[in-house]
């Protein structure tokens, strides 16, 4: 109950934002295309939040996040086809299964590799991300439906504003509670100085694994939502470049800030997709010329992100 009191502000804000979007959607102020983009932004925020827990709070540099996003998407797609899921209520367990699959995989992978340091962890996660990509490319060996490198088509479009938004809000709340609990405290200790944390008796290996597993779980949930929004999956959507997307959001928004991730996620999707609408096709590729420049500049001037460590009081996410 204490939790509800503390987060009352956030819940109120969420309801307000939801009503606002719902209003716009209902009255057709946005085309279906833009509606899809908006819903996507919630999914992206959720997934990036996962990476924020892994990297922003606990300091583990993972370059394979999109792989877990993909595992969630494909698992959900497969199980949904297996059980012929069409409706919202049947979808919810499928959604959860996507998250659990990714989380489980994160756990299994994390056990051996999380003891690696910075660069080596980066390479290991990069390699694993690519390994997942190869797995997805060959998924038609497992099941013709999964389509291998030709992609998966025909997933029913179940995800709408309600599902995506409230799933994201729910998971943000859980994350927030984890962050402000013992777990979050330990995670930040590990990030600041792992050696010192060990001397304090913190089970660093266990905590790191927990953070990693949870972060992958969130990615899997995001992936499952994505699959049932776009109805079409392709392995190339879950490659290294996608992992970089999430990384950029976490960094630009501020490592260790949930609010930052929310803002950055919205901004990112708005910029990427908005530019697709605003720019003529010939200039579209310039996006990817300016984004890395932006990234480099952010690294040079504000290496810890723009909104690091401060949670918005307005949104009620703080302590």
């Amino acid at each position: 109950m204490n939790f509800l009191v503390e987060t009352k502000r956030f819940l109120l804000c969420s309801v307000a934002v939801y009503l606002l979007f719902k209003f716009f959607f209902l009255f057709g102020l946005f085309s279906e295309y833009i509606q899809q983009i908006i819903i996507l932004s919630f999914i992206v925020i959720l997934t990036s939040l996962g990476l924020n827990v892994i990297y922003g709070y606990t300091g583990q540099f993972s370059l394979g996040h999109a792989g877990f996003y993909g595992i969630g998407a494909y698992t959900a797609a497969y199980l949904g086809a297996l059980f012929k899921v069409e409706g919202v209520w049947a979808f919810l367990p499928i959604l959860l299964s996507g998250g659990l699959a990714a989380g489980l995989l994160g756990y299994l992978v994390g056990v051996p590799i999380l003891r690696l340091k910075d660069d080596f962890l980066a390479i290991a996660t990069l390699g694993f991300g690519i390994l997942i990509r190869v797995l997805l490319d060959n998924s038609d060996q497992l099941s013709e439906f999964l389509g291998g490198s030709r992609g998966v088509i025909g997933i029913p479009k179940i995800v709408n504003l309600e599902i995506a938004f409230w799933a994201a809000v729910f998971l943000i709340l859980i994350t927030r509670n984890l962050i402000f609990s013992r777990y979050g405290l330990f995670w930040q200790c590990i990030k600041d100085d792992e050696l010192a944390a060990t001397t304090f008796g913190i089970d660093t290996a266990g905590m790191k694994l927990t953070a990693f597993t949870y972060g992958c779980f969130l990615a899997g949930m995001g992936g499952a939502l994505y699959a049932y929004l776009y109805s079409f999956l392709h392995p190339s959507n879950f490659d290294f470049l996608k992992s970089i997307d999430f990384l950029i959001i976490v960094i630009v928004g501020g490592m260790g800030s949930i609010t930052g991730t929310i803002y950055a996620g919205l901004l990112w999707v708005a910029v990427i997709e908005g530019l697709r609408l605003a720019l003529p096709a010939s200039l579209l590729e310039l996006r990817w010329v300016f984004i890395p420049i932006l990234l480099i500049l952010v690294m040079m001037w504000r290496p810890y992100g723009l909104l690091s460590r401060s949670e918005s009081r307005f949104l009620g996410l703080g302590n």
């Binding site: 490198s149 079409f232 959507n237 096709a281």
Partner: protein
């Protein structure tokens, strides 16, 4: 005098206030094509043809067409995004393309779901119009499908090239390549041929030495490479460098001026199946070829010819339906019979596929040379 002048001025003024011709209703049509990426010559050709068709239509057509062109970069996700945007944001009444099956298959799902007619000129994989035994009512194509194309190639190998053994190299990440390979294999084996090698590679591969060395063990007489021109050119060169002597055979993906440019000596003298030959003796075809040549400086390839036909088909259906309502246009489209196109006479069968003949072309330095026609 003054009164005549006065009336004249009023008349002229009225002319400007009330335009003489009634304004045509504006209708948007979209083209999804690979303007950039690994098959950009396909996209360029189709874009040229698309615009040419719209120009030709506008002389006599009932509607004013606003063309919207989207680049899918030969990538399924890009194509799907472009389709969604064209349909829900730009509100096109119909879509031409995509050109390649791997993009056309997901886009056809989107078109079907949103009930917007789609006519692809060139995507040949069966899954574009029928998937999981379900026919997508709104999707049509102006070309033949790969089960037919694969069998044409296989029969050519058996009967004309008198080959008893063949090897197949295909791209596993591409529905077109994989499908065509399977259809070729089925027919070749039915014709008492033996497939001595059936190897797959991936989209980004450049080193085929391992695969080529592998199939060289059996010395196949024919090597079937159902992929797009840039990959084919690369593979052909490596095949010849390793000394394999088999005849190379391919599908409509070979049709590009870049094939010989990249492939050089290695690719010359080999054969591929296609939708039409620029040497076709037919009034409509000749007129189109002349116009395309004068406008763009080169002979149109099958991508251009088919896109032209597809565009004319959908615009013709629009006129015949008398309305831009997708449901009505669909009714006319589905009933298309004996349409005289550049690439032949087109009738849609119950799956929305065109029943057409294929041609066999030989790769020569100056361009593909016509060898034979195969009727379905």
């Amino acid at each position: 005098m003054k009164s005549i002048l006065f009336v004249g001025v009023i008349a002229v003024a009225l002319m400007f206030l009330f335009p003489m011709t009634q304004a045509k209703e504006i209708v948007k049509v979209g083209l999804i094509a690979p303007l950039t990426g690994d098959v950009k010559t396909f996209g360029e050709s189709s874009k040229n043809a698309f615009l040419m068709a719209i120009e030709a239509y506008s002389k006599t057509g009932k509607y004013q067409i606003t063309p919207l062109i989207a680049d899918d970069r030969n990538d399924a996700t890009e194509g799907a995004n472009a389709a969604l945007k064209l349909i829900t944001q730009d509100k096109v009444f119909g879509i031409i393309g995509p050109l390649t099956s791997k993009v056309a298959i997901p886009v056809s799902e989107i078109a079907e779901k949103n009930k917007i007619p789609m006519v692809t000129g060139t995507a040949t994989n069966p899954k574009v119009t029928v998937y999981n035994l379900k026919r997508k009512r709104y999707v049509f194509r102006a070309c033949f499908i790969d089960p037919f194309q694969g069998s044409v190639a296989a029969n050519f190998a058996v009967k004309n090239l008198k080959a008893k053994t063949a090897a197949v190299l295909y791209d596993v990440s591409n529905d077109y390549s994989k499908g065509l390979a399977e259809f070729f294999k089925a027919t070749f084996e039915k014709g008492q041929g033996r497939i001595v090698g059936y190897e797959s590679y991936q989209k980004d591969d450049v080193d085929f030495s391992a695969l080529i060395t592998k199939i060289n063990l059996k010395k196949p007489e024919v090597i079937f490479i159902p992929d797009y021109y840039n990959k084919v050119a690369l593979i052909a060169r490596q095949i010849r460098e390793r000394g394999l002597k088999g005849v190379l055979l391919g599908g409509d993906g070979w049709d590009s001026p870049e094939l010989v440019k990249i492939g050089g000596e290695a690719i010359i003298g080999n054969y591929f199946t296609n939708h039409y030959s620029p040497e076709r003796k037919d009034k409509i075809a000749e007129a189109f070829i002349e116009k395309y040549k004068s406008k763009h400086g080169r002979v149109p390839d099958s991508l251009a010819a088919l896109t032209y036909d597809a565009t004319m088909i959908i615009l013709g259906s629009l006129d015949k339906a008398g309305t831009a309502q997708p449901e009505e246009v669909l009714k006319v489209l589905a009933a298309l019979k004996n349409f005289k196109g550049v690439t032949g006479t087109i009738t849609f069968d119950q799956n929305g596929d065109a029943v057409k003949s294929a041609v066999i072309l030989k790769v020569e330095k100056e361009g593909p040379k016509y060898m034979a026609t195969v009727n379905p």
